[in-house]
Amino acid sequence: MCLAIPGRVTTISGNDPLMKTGLVNFGGILKEVNLVYVPEVKVDDYVIVHVGFAISILDEKEAQKVFDTLNELENYEDPLQ
């Protein structure tokens, strides 16, 4: 129920701040999404979408952290490699 999926914002429309919407590309499928809760969103940002609303803008640097941690784990636990 709290399923929310990431997609890339391709267009933004609507001057009314309450009605700000955009087309979001989910792996090739385009869907209109309400952007009112991510006022700073820009075209090409990736957003997490839940029941038609973008609820966050994904942070690319933070997204990399899972993999950075993995590298650190490998180096720390097995320093000879």
Partner: protein, 363 residues
């Protein structure tokens, strides 16, 4: 898909699983809060990658599962009224009420419509001015901003033929309630990444400190969940109890402030009944006075039965992490997703339905 596929990589999943094995010296029992996480754990058989010493307990974070029988009965009553168009997320239709479910009403000719977004309901109301349109507004904090926006817009546009049957619940009081159970087994929590995307995680810090329990805000993909487990086990093995954020690509400490503002505008904190658990004080959201004319419970008052039909169902104990789905004698026999006895077998995010669908986790 970017931000999805890379978190499903099996090589990196195995690296994390190895790290968890190396770190674990004692038995630990962790609870993932969210049904979406339960579903991923079952789908990817993540429990099989973990040391035997680690037990995953499945939490109550599925709004379909915890919506009270009383509210299901009210939904059934309202949906059966003539002149009503009843709108709902699809998962709610098979949830058993005292006597019937919404699907039965639909099969008898009730006008029940499945919607993707609460905003769709506004258009249905505007397109059908001679009908009463009611939306079953269920959800945790993740869904509250969407429901709040639909209600806010309904007031702004002065739509008179729309109302909302509210079943909004919130996570932190449920965590406290689980920790207060005499039979509690949970030693660490994976908090729900999308709930925290909305609310942030500051409200979990006093809980972690008071109960000396690690809480790791965790995402939904296999690598997210394995990393959440790793961070939780690391804290437990090192004797720490803190709030950590594994899902930092989406979750900020303060959460989504515009979304919180609209939740505050429309809703206030109320006590709610949780199916299988009972009443938890201050654990839900109800409409503020300024929005009370959109309250379907007030618009369509009714007396309902509100009693569980199937005594053999142990879904309440499953939701509290005390029992596992396969501990239930009805599981997979008299209780299946096609013919569920309890709500945890209905939603794909309910623990019983997830176990049934991905049978390997029954071992």
């Amino acid at each position: 898909m970017k931000f999805v596929d890379e978190y499903r990589n099996s090589k990196e999943a195995m690296q994390l699983a190895d790290a968890i094995h190396r770190k674990t010296t004692r038995p630990w029992e962790l609870m993932e809060i969210c049904g979406g996480q339960t579903h991923s754990i079952a789908k990817y058989s993540l429990q099989d990658l973990l040391p035997e010493k680690i037990t995953l307990l499945h939490g109550p974070g599925c709004p379909v599962c915890v919506t009270s029988v009383t509210l299901i009965d009210k939904a059934v009553y309202i949906a059966a009224l003539p002149n009503v168009i009843f709108c709902s997320f699809g998962d709610m239709l098979r949830v058993p009420g005292s006597r019937e479910d919404l699907f039965t009403i639909k099969s008898k000719g009730g006008d029940i419509r499945i919607v993707y977004s609460p905003m769709d309901v506004l258009k249905i109301a505007q397109d059908n001015p001679d009908k009463e349109v009611v939306f079953f507004a269920i959800g945790f904090e993740t869904t509250a901003p969407a429901n709040a926006m639909a209600i806010y817009q309904a007031k702004l546009d002065d739509i008179k033929n729309i109302s909302f049957l509210i079943s909004q619940v919130i996570v932190p009081p449920a965590i406290r309630s689980i920790l207060e159970f005499p039979d509690n087994r949970v030693q660490g929590f994976l908090a729900a990444g999308h709930v925290c995307t909305i609310m942030g995680y500051q409200e979990y810090e006093p809980i972690s400190e008071e109960y000396q329990i690690p809480i790791v805000v965790t995402g939904f993909e296999p690598l997210d969940i394995l990393q959440g487990i790793y961070l939780c086990i690391k804290q437990l093995e090192e004797g720490r109890a803190e709030v950590e954020n594994q899902y930092s690509r989406s979750v900020r400490k303060e959460g989504n402030l515009p979304a919180q503002k609209n939740i505050q505008e429309v809703f206030q904190i109320v006590s709610r009944q949780w199916r299988g658990i009972g009443e938890i004080a201050q654990s839900g959201l109800g409409l503020r006075e300024a929005y009370s004319r959109f309250d379907a419970e007030k618009k369509f008052p009714c007396e309902v039965h509100g009693q569980e039909r199937f005594a053999e169902c142990i879904s309440g104990l499953v939701l509290q992490g005390i029992k596992k789905p396969h501990d239930c004698e009805a599981f997979g026999k008299s209780c299946t997703p096609e013919s569920p006895l309890g709500a945890t077998m209905v939603s794909t995010e309910g623990a019983c339905a997830a176990y049934y669908r991905y049978q390997s986790v029954q071992s």
